[in-house]
């Protein structure tokens, strides 16, 4: 399938929570092809337009499906290519109008990456269960963390002006990471998305979140920092009903996690070269779309983080970026 995609397509990903609503060319194009596809016109049980689409540059849909089965997806792609070849044979190549390089962008969906910030890759996954050795934890989900320049500075063991922190790091040096940073991480990133979607925690759901740092190694261009902390979030029952299953998830959900990490900071370049962090512990309850109704727990879960390069595929927005992500 990888070779077939490479041979025939430009593979594109999109977040329909944005592209179904954007008031710009990107949104217009997506709606045009989606309304020719498998969920065209659908409003119940949801108005989702999730799926896989093969389309021409000018927005003519050739094939589509919403499936996780590789053979069904490949079949759909082959149908799309066959239709395209038929059209080409008939001279129907579509509009030759050049796709504009600069077009108005719906600013409601654009949040610039923070200056001096860094991006972390996140994975969440269930952890093995000691009471059930047959339990398989292959399901996992991703997200990206955007830390602002100010937040990154809080993790550094030094400050250039010597305010609050020394100019040079020393082994054994301890400092606390500002509570607002770890509370923000907990609120938007310690969320059980393993099987499906869950909303972020409200600010009041974060019962506590603390994170301390200690310098454990110092070399000329390498300072190693150990992180240690805890976070607990609990959301009361919402009473919301899942429109697909009709079931009501009416119990509280929460996480109670230990937070740990090892960071490597280069004082010469004033940059982190490694940022490995982990939050692990118990989760319980369920959200409307996270498919935990039959797995209410408490059961173990882990959230792992590491530094990513700032290249386009790593710069996909954090899931909750448009929902108060930088408000606090």
């Amino acid at each position: 399938m990888i070779d077939f995609i490479a041979e025939h397509f430009v593979p594109v990903t999109t977040n329909i929570n944005h592209s179904q609503h954007r008031k710009d060319l990107e949104g217009k194009y997506f709606r045009k092809i989606a309304e020719q596809g498998h969920y065209a016109g659908r409003t119940k049980p949801t108005a989702t337009r999730q799926g896989l689409y093969v389309a021409t540059v000018d927005g003519h849909l050739l094939a589509s499906v919403n499936s996780t089965q590789a053979d069904e997806v490949l079949k759909m792609m082959k149908q799309g290519v066959a239709k395209w070849q038929q059209r080409q044979a008939l001279g129907m190549t579509g509009s030759q109008k050049k796709v504009r390089k600069t077009a108005r962008v719906d600013k409601n969906y654009q949040v610039p990456f923070p200056e001096g910030g860094l991006v972390l890759g996140e994975v969440c996954r269930d952890l093995p269960r000691s009471d059930d050795p047959s339990f398989k934890n292959w399901r996992h989900n991703f997200d990206h963390v955007w830390l602002t320049g100010k937040e990154v500075a809080m993790f550094k063991p030094v400050s250039a002006d010597g305010r609050g922190k020394p100019k040079k790091a020393s082994k054994g040096q301890q400092y606390e990471i500002d509570e607002a940073v770890i509370r923000r991480l907990a609120q938007f990133h310690f969320v059980d998305q393993v099987n499906g979607e869950a909303s972020s925690w409200d600010e009041s759901d974060v019962k506590y979140a603390v994170l301390k740092a200690e310098v454990v190694e110092v070399a000329q261009d390498r300072v190693k920092i150990k992180l240690n902390g805890r976070a607990k979030c609990v959301k009361p029952p919402t009473g919301n009903r899942n429109p697909l299953s009709g079931t009501r998830v009416d119990k509280e959900r929460g996480v109670d996690l230990k937070v740990s990490g090892y960071l490597v900071f280069n004082p010469k370049s004033d940059r982190f070269t490694s940022f490995d962090m982990l939050a692990h512990g118990q989760r319980w309850g369920a959200a409307v779309y996270n498919f935990r109704q039959r797995d209410m727990g408490p059961e173990p879960i882990g959230f792992a983080f590491r530094l990513l390069e700032t290249k386009p595929e790593n710069m996909v927005q954090p899931k909750f970026l448009l929902w108060g992500y930088f408000d606090n």
Binding site: P11, V57, M77, P312
Partner: protein, 90 residues
């Protein structure tokens, strides 16, 4: 090496060996007492190579950029649309 120091040395060897031997299930809710234990659990959460094959495809996370590329290359668009970007949280 004094007898006490030797005991500490042996204890540290034993505890390190125990940590390496501790199954992940047992670590699931415990505090991690060493960097080795941290690495073991941290690394186990990231996908293995066989779970990352889909990333071999050079996904473009922008319809606008993808359309321009498809026009230049005379290709079709293969669009993966999810609640949440497939390259991030879905």
């Amino acid at each position: 090496m004094s007898k006490d120091l030797f005991r500490i040395f042996l204890l540290s060897l034993t505890s390190t060996a125990m940590l390496f031997a501790t199954p992940l299930a047992a670590q699931s809710t415990q505090a991690l007492k060493s960097e080795a234990a941290f690495r073991k659990l941290h690394d186990s959460l990231f996908p293995a190579a066989n779970e990352e094959k889909w990333r071999q495809t050079p996904w473009v996370p922008s319809i606008a950029t993808g359309r321009r590329m498809a026009q230049e290359r005379k290709r079709l668009l293969f669009l993966w649309a999810m609640n949440g970007d497939p390259l991030g949280c879905v």
